[in-house]
Amino acid sequence: MNRRIRMIAALMAVLAGISSGFLVRQMMETGKGEDQEVAAIRQAKEILTQEEERLALLQSQNFELEQRKKELLRRLEEYEDVSGILTEMRENAFLSAMTDVEGSGIVLTLDDKLDYDPLTDPIEAVIHDSTINYILNLLWAAGARAIAFNGVRLTAVSEISCVGPTILCYGIRQMPPYVIEAIGPGESMKTALETDSYLVHLIQAKIGIRRTITPEDELVLNSFSRTHDFLPYIGLLRTP
């Protein structure tokens, strides 16, 4: 028997062993029930699905209630002299990011370096909260009038922070790719992003941050109220 045949025979024997092992394991598990971790993961997935469904339901209810509110306020305007106060309320809602808005602008997507390795890649190859805050400031300075970060509208109290490597926006974990939608002067915002020396540094091959900028003629940014309740964010403010 030559050496090659002996090697193949040995490999086949190892494979046969692995197969038998899985068979034995399967039989053992069928007897004792599922592995505890698998059961916990399965249960967590079920709860997550329920929470996702509940969010979709609440968002749809919120949309219907907001529509109904608009309609009732319009009807109220016909019956009573409330148009002045309603106009003010709508203006304040508009300025506080509590109204859905539309306009032209840009969509910026940012992602960590592909296959980021913390042992060999620089720390800048991962997007940090400071990078996001830096970009937001750049966009406001370039004339942005409304911005959403990963679908959440930014307000006067835009809480973007981090816990370890995870970015939080209003206390909710965000995952890459990060999407920043900005309504405003598209060309000016695009130029600001493309020419900023720090951002140019980040997208170099040696750092590897992935970035795309897409001009949009019609962007719609949802109100902050679609994702959050605003009252907890003004609870500490007293009138002087």
Binding site: A10, E66, F94, D129, W140, R145, S161, D229
Partner: protein, 237 residues
Amino acid sequence: MKNRWFQYISILIVCVLVGLVIALLMKNLNVTNLGGKSLQELQNSIIDYQKKNEDLNNRNARLYEYLRELEAELAGGSGESYLHIVDEKEQYAVFAGLRAAQNAGVVITLTPVEGYRMQDAVIRQLVNELSALGAQAIAINEERKVATTEIRTSQDLILVNGVGFSRGSSFEIKAIVDPAKIDSYVVPYLVSVADSIKKQLGDQSVTITVRKDESVLIPALREDRIAYQTELLKPVE
């Protein structure tokens, strides 16, 4: 010859046993079949969704009450919905930074050493830290921070809401934060951030002081500021 076959069979048996051991030691493959997320990641996602749902549920409950009032008003009611609209108008104004606000908070003063020019990044870092600490109102040199506020250097000035401040002068950042956390967490944390900034910039740069103030007054956004310019935005009907 017989001895040789005995050797071959022994090696094969050892190989089968090695395979058996490998299979039994391998992590259960079912775990990876469940979407690839770890239990910790799933639990984090559940917490995030629960937070979002609670928030939205509260908002919807209040909206529902509001709609009932409006419907009662339209059916010949008491005028309460007018008061509700006034309340709501004011709440939006407060949230947008259009009203002055007062409460306990912190005051950070940055004074550049003679000849040093203040960097916008330092002010931005402190403002971002305050936002992350849950500050509900912030002002930089009496300029209210609102959604569209930019803090950027333009030659010898640092612009905040389009208003220029000399880079050679002091900057004061005021913020209203949770009074229960000021002494125990906010001030010590901001002092550590200030120390780290000073270490980075060196001794001949800027002095930073952080102090608690029982009654910080944050001004409203002034009406001539750029945040009021909304011509590029249209409300969605």
